[in-house]
Symmetry: C2
Subunit: 327 residues, 2 copies
Amino acid sequence: MNIADIAKIAGVAKSTVSRYLNGGSIGEATRKKIESVIKETGYSPNKFAQSLKAKRTNMIGTIVPRLDSYATSQTLIGIDKQLLDMNFQLVISNTSQSLDREIEYIYSLAKQKVDGIILMATEITDSHLEAFEAVKIPIMLVGQQHDQYHSLIHDDFEASYELGKNVLKKGHRKIAYLGVSEKDIAVGIKRKEGFRKAVSEQPGCEVAFFETSFKIEDAIKKVPEIIEEYHPSLIFCATDNIALGALKAANMRGLSVPRDLSITGFGGYDITKITYPGITTAKFHYKEAGKISAKNMVQLINGEQLSKITLSTYKIIERESVDKLID
Amino acid sequence: MNIADIAKIAGVAKSTVSRYLNGGSIGEATRKKIESVIKETGYSPNKFAQSLKAKRTNMIGTIVPRLDSYATSQTLIGIDKQLLDMNFQLVISNTSQSLDREIEYIYSLAKQKVDGIILMATEITDSHLEAFEAVKIPIMLVGQQHDQYHSLIHDDFEASYELGKNVLKKGHRKIAYLGVSEKDIAVGIKRKEGFRKAVSEQPGCEVAFFETSFKIEDAIKKVPEIIEEYHPSLIFCATDNIALGALKAANMRGLSVPRDLSITGFGGYDITKITYPGITTAKFHYKEAGKISAKNMVQLINGEQLSKITLSTYKIIERESVDKLID
DNA sequence: CTGAAAGCGCTTACAG
DNA sequence: CTGAAAGCGCTTACAG
């Protein structure tokens, strides 16, 4: 059943059916005839033939570093929902944390003629820029920013600054900051800087900086060293996963959180309210951010104006993992 | 840059280039010529034109009930990885737990000409069967089974039976089983039945059955009632999420796990080893299951033989959430 | 408002 | 082994 069949049955030309399908001007009588034929036959146009001519696929590619992370899932859910509403389809490409595959996927999505690419970025290298340049389709960065491209970022600096002030206000003065590599601008640098600003405004504060990976296991191993070396009253973790590791490590040493050690996370993963104690954290609105980035992407595709940077909001969530040392 | 350009530059016919691309028989000299031209020009064939003729897209659709679940993510990662190796592309459709949308996606993926559909099923209704029938492409069920269709299932019954025996051996005799709706055959019925078999083999055992949803929050609310009503020594939870809720609820009541209350989970989510105490659970190998289902799907597409049911393995993981009452 | 024709970029018998 | 031609199912000027 193709457009020719429908045309024949309806007694019109193929081009007329095509016009009907694409919202061209049609006489009332023919419109009704075609409409009923399509309904009866259950006809639906072949996407490949459409795309072959029209050069527009109504598909958006999203490249993610991993599928098994709260931030990724939530963002994807938001993108997917928004795209569905706007009549676009989401194509997900998972790189399993390989930067090389990230580059490959930029090219292969372009080859697949997606109308745009949303990249949940961790790092923007020269190869990325080269690929962006080469594919000539709209690119939207999520989670990291770059002067040349449109991006949606979380307010890592402000969130960290505010969370930092929050724990200082509770009286913590000897704090271990447990962060990640500075290759990651957003998580590695911005969060650290926001925290640093908070402590710089608080006299009599002592801080030590440590580094670990994004893996919970590595945090579990790292935290005991920090405790022994530095004896902080609070560990300020750059991600919720790191905080989860810190909590586990503390529990395993028989330390009671927050009485013996306070912990904060970052991200606002659902699991932070399920642990015991619940973890104080800066919550990002990933699902919402996904929706916005999808909206932005479609604006880009339609050639509309869009500011280079969109800032997503955050919220500090106080739970039980931080002890109040003073009042 | 299309196949005609390549043909012209190489001084051969389009059909010859096409044959080169698709592994037909080609003279050594022409092969080299075409090869070098393609390399120089960076040509790559238009997917839509290919699919329009060839009727094969090398795409597999996977329908998932949600994106934010450990089981889903892991399974998808496995499917994706395996498909990549076999030169297929994965298209993910997320239904956000809507059965209606599940049906819709079966049709729309078929319209998109995916070569097969992997359905991470929760429930198989008549509409599903109707859709399977209508689309006429290979269907592979994951997580649930149906006589008429190929499926990959986890060994819910045996896993539950073995986990049940395990906790009975530790001396638990008054147990609350906290399950989910029987609409879900695998999780709602099979796990319950496996557990039931274990207790039926243990004289002097008292058991009460309760039901909740898949949501952690609901378990948190439900568990206190169970404790007050029934005072079990152990709560046998049908999923890890439910166990997580039970653990939180117990902690919130000031109960120490496992001293005051033992808890078991089901699924083997990573988070169960991060909680304190770690949760005893039956671990399913989701990633592996994803790989296998992808392999099976490709076999189906190639018209190869495949048994209706493939059983994925499990492993009982003992951690600290279960107290040893006797030795 | 409607139709005939060309063309999008491939693949696939068919002939040689 | 290679080529000319038809066709996959649409869309899009162009005419009327």
